[in-house]
Every structure is written in structure tokens, then in C-alpha cells.
Amino acid sequence: MIHLYLLATLLTGFIGFRDAAGRNTKIRKRRYYVECLLRALGLGQAVLCVLMFLAIICRIDLDVIQLIAERSLPIYLSYTGLVLCTFIPYAIPNWEIKSVVTVLVFGPLTLLQPVVIIAGAGYSIYPYWDRVLEVFFVLLGTLFCLCFEYILDKLQWSYRAASLSKAEE
């Protein structure tokens, strides 16, 4: 289950970056990105803690959750591996290669992300349909992953951080 936790943490980091991008029109904005990333990671950790708390008070069978998590791992790890591997060509110091990787790889992988999340969840809970509470819990986690970017967008943290960083200097 620790693997799934780490993957969810990584996901919140990526989404935090995505939520920050395209809002701050300044040239120098490294600090802004770091702040947005940390906020997203913080919120992600808070929600994961709430999920764990819910799991405990609802007396969810963590062994079943463990089995579901193990079943979903190959799908999520493959996707994550693919995403991380694309940073290898991206590291080549050539603008054209970087641009092409951005268009042809990052774009489609971003669009594919919700499909992978749903597919992973569907595949992993399929044999455990009779465990209603555990399945509900997994679906709650899946919903969180799917809606995390929407939540960040609605919270407008990065939008406000972008405005603030303009006003501050």
C-alpha cells in the first residue's frame, strides 16, 4: 500500500505543477512554482490522511485494500514509468527535441491520465465487488485523484499566488 501512497503523492505533485502553469506571466517564477507545488503536496497529504482516518473509523479491512492496491500497481507503475522515462529524451539539451517531447509525449500522457486512473481502479476492484465498503473506499480515493486538479483550480491558490507575486515586487 505504501507504493500506492507514494504514487498518489507523486500525482499530487505533478498536478500541483500543472495547476500552477499558465497562470503567472512573469519571466522569473521559480519560487512561485515551488510554492504551488508544496501547497498541492500539502493538500494531497491532508486528503490522504483524511482517507486513512476514514479507513480506520469505518473499520475497513486493510488486507483487502492491500490486495486491491497490489492489483492496481502494474497499471499505475507502467504509466508512471512511462511518464518518468519521457524525461530522459527531455533531458537532451536540444530545444527542438524538448519541444517535440512536450507536444507528442507530455500532451497525450496528460490526456491519458484520467483514463489510466479509472482503468487501474476498475481493474483492481473487479474481483472484490462483494466488499462494498472497501470498494467504496477505493472509489473515494480514485475520485480524489481524478478531481484533484479541479479542486486546486477551484481553490484558486496558484491564481492568487500569481497575482500576489506581481503585486509584491
Binding site: 502553469a21 506571466t25 512573469k26 519541444s99 517535440v100 507530455f106 515586487e169
Partner: protein
């Protein structure tokens, strides 16, 4: 007519008198009638109205937001370093033929001024050139000015026609502007530029190929949030001029300068290029420029 030969939303909701630069009120009905896409029509319908006209303040707000998002394209395509390299070589070659004065570089249709702000922030050609960004849209220019002031950058932004500035212009640049000029208007663009007698120019636009519409769709629909940025960003690349069209227009409109294609497409692998450029430089400096820039370049025959 190409199936991509349709206007972008920003072309429909924002119109200017070309000679005076005065803004023309746009009737929602007129904009909708010229629009072939239901997606674009829904964006236009979402803009508040004033007596049947699109509310100018709402249009400006939409444009400022969309331009902010579209800045990602230039950031992720490393446009700043790319232009820095080209301009450094251009200025170097002009210095090489004895041009010693401080040079004025004008960015045509600069929007919120990303390119010049980037160049200034990174100290490109510091002290050697002055940067002037020009656009018809006051809201975008005000945004550019505010951003430059915030980061203490020495860039001047003006609401004006780039070809009717009072001061002489030495180098014209543009990014993502050329595809807005269709047919004879593209030739007139180069003719108007030539009338200003610049020493050089460098215009960049998305690379046109069979793969461009798909690549552009993937990029904009996965990254942009506002529907305007998605649609216009995608369409601007999809309807980018082919190399032949660009070269013909530049040839007919710029007889005084030697022409080069920057990053010409690779016929067997068109996906390998995202941006292209057409560069003109004073004939006596052309060879020096060609030698200085270690990037794929092709001389355009006359």
C-alpha cells in the same frame, strides 16, 4: 480553400482600423456569422454584450487571460533562447559590416510582451539594443508594461502600428503573427515592413506539416484552460503558412534583404520541428550571419 482556412476567435472578436489602429465595435451577430465552429461560437456567445456588441472590457479580459496561458507555448518551446540566438547572430553580423549605432528591435504584435521581457530579463544584447514591443490592443500592452515594471525590465511597449512608428526600426521580430495575415495581406505585411527599411527581420510561426493540426490539438487541449486559448492556439498552428507561401510573400515584399528559412522542415520527419522562421538580413551581412548561427538554415533563392 484549405479546411483550416477559418478565422480564429480573437480575429473575430477584436477588430481594428488598420490605418489608425482604432478599435471597431464588433456585433455579436457578425462574429457568429463568420464562425464555422460550434465550439468557437459558444465562446463568442459567452462574452457579455453591450447593445448587441461584444463588451470591449470583457473581450480584453478574455484576451489577457488567454495570452497568459498561451505564454506556456513559448516557454515550453524555448522560444526565448531560440530568438536570443538568432538576434545575437543578426546583431553580430550587422556589427561585422560596420553598423555601430545602438539598434532598435521591434516586436510586432507583441501581446503581453513575453519575448522581449524574456530577452531583457536574461540580459540578451544588453546595452547593444533597445527593445520595443508593439500591439494594437491596449489591455495587452498595459499588461506587458505592468509585468516589465514588476520585474524591472527595460522594455518599451506601445499601442501602435509597428510599421508607422516615429522612430526608425533596425530589426523587426514577431512570434505567431504571420499566420494572421492571409493571402495578399501577407505580401502587404512584408511590403509595409520593407518600407521601414529595416536592416534585418526574424519572424517565427508554427511549423506547417500534415502532423501540425494533431500536435497542436494535443498540446493546447491538454494544457490550456480557457476555451479561447485552446481553440485559437490549436487553429493558429493548424493554419500556419507552408514554407512555400512564406518564402513567396517574403520574396515579393522584401527585395532589399537576403532571405533565409530558419529550421526548414525535414520532409521525412515533419514531427521533428515545432516552429519555423523566415529571416531577412542586409545582403552584405547575410554570409556572416549564416556562418555565425549554428542552427538549421536554408538560403531562400530569389
Amino acid at each position: 480553400m484549405s479546411k483550416w482556412e477559418r478565422p480564429e476567435i480573437s480575429d473575430l472578436i477584436l477588430q481594428y482600423e488598420p490605418d489608425t489602429g482604432h478599435r471597431i465595435p464588433v456585433l455579436q451577430q457578425d462574429a457568429l456569422e463568420q464562425c464555422r465552429s460550434s465550439y468557437a461560437r459558444s465562446v463568442i456567445r459567452s462574452i457579455p454584450l453591450q447593445d448587441g456588441h461584444l463588451c470591449p472590457e470583457a473581450v480584453d479580459q478574455l484576451l489577457v487571460t488567454a495570452h497568459g496561458e498561451l505564454q506556456r507555448l513559448w516557454e515550453e518551446f524555448f522560444h526565448g533562447p531560440r530568438v536570443a540566438k538568432v538576434l545575437t547572430a543578426l546583431v553580430g553580423s550587422l556589427r561585422g559590416i560596420g553598423v555601430e549605432r545602438s539598434l532598435r528591435v521591434v516586436d510586432i504584435g507583441c501581446g503581453s510582451g513575453y519575448l522581449l521581457r524574456w530577452l531583457s530579463a536574461h540580459g540578451v544584447l544588453e546595452g547593444d539594443v533597445s527593445w520595443v514591443g508593439v500591439d494594437f490592443n491596449r489591455a495587452l500592452i498595459e499588461q506587458a508594461r505592468a509585468l516589465a515594471e514588476t520585474e524591472q525590465l527595460s522594455v518599451t511597449f506601445k499601442v501602435a502600428n509597428a510599421f508607422k512608428l516615429e522612430e526608425p526600426v533596425d530589426i523587426f521580430v514577431s512570434s505567431g503573427v504571420m499566420h494572421h495575415f492571409r493571402g495578399a495581406a501577407l505580401e502587404r505585411f512584408f511590403e509595409a515592413q520593407a518600407a521601414c527599411e529595416p536592416l534585418a527581420f526574424a519572424h517565427f510561426d508554427p511549423q506547417s506539416s500534415w502532423a501540425t493540426p494533431l500536435g497542436s490539438f494535443l498540446f493546447h487541449f491538454s494544457r490550456m484552460r480557457t476555451p479561447l486559448a485552446r481553440y485559437d492556439g490549436w487553429l493558429s498552428a493548424a493554419r500556419a503558412h507552408s514554407g512555400v507561401v512564406l518564402e513567396q510573400a517574403a520574396r515579393s515584399g522584401c527585395a532589399e534583404l537576403s532571405l533565409l528559412r530558419y529550421h526548414p522542415p525535414i520532409s521525412w520527419f515533419p514531427l521533428a520541428r515545432t516552429l519555423t522562421g523566415i529571416i531577412g538580413v542586409k545582403a552584405s551581412a547575410a554570409e556572416l550571419f549564416y556562418l555565425q548561427l549554428d542552427e538549421p538554415l536554408r538560403k531562400v533563392e530569389r
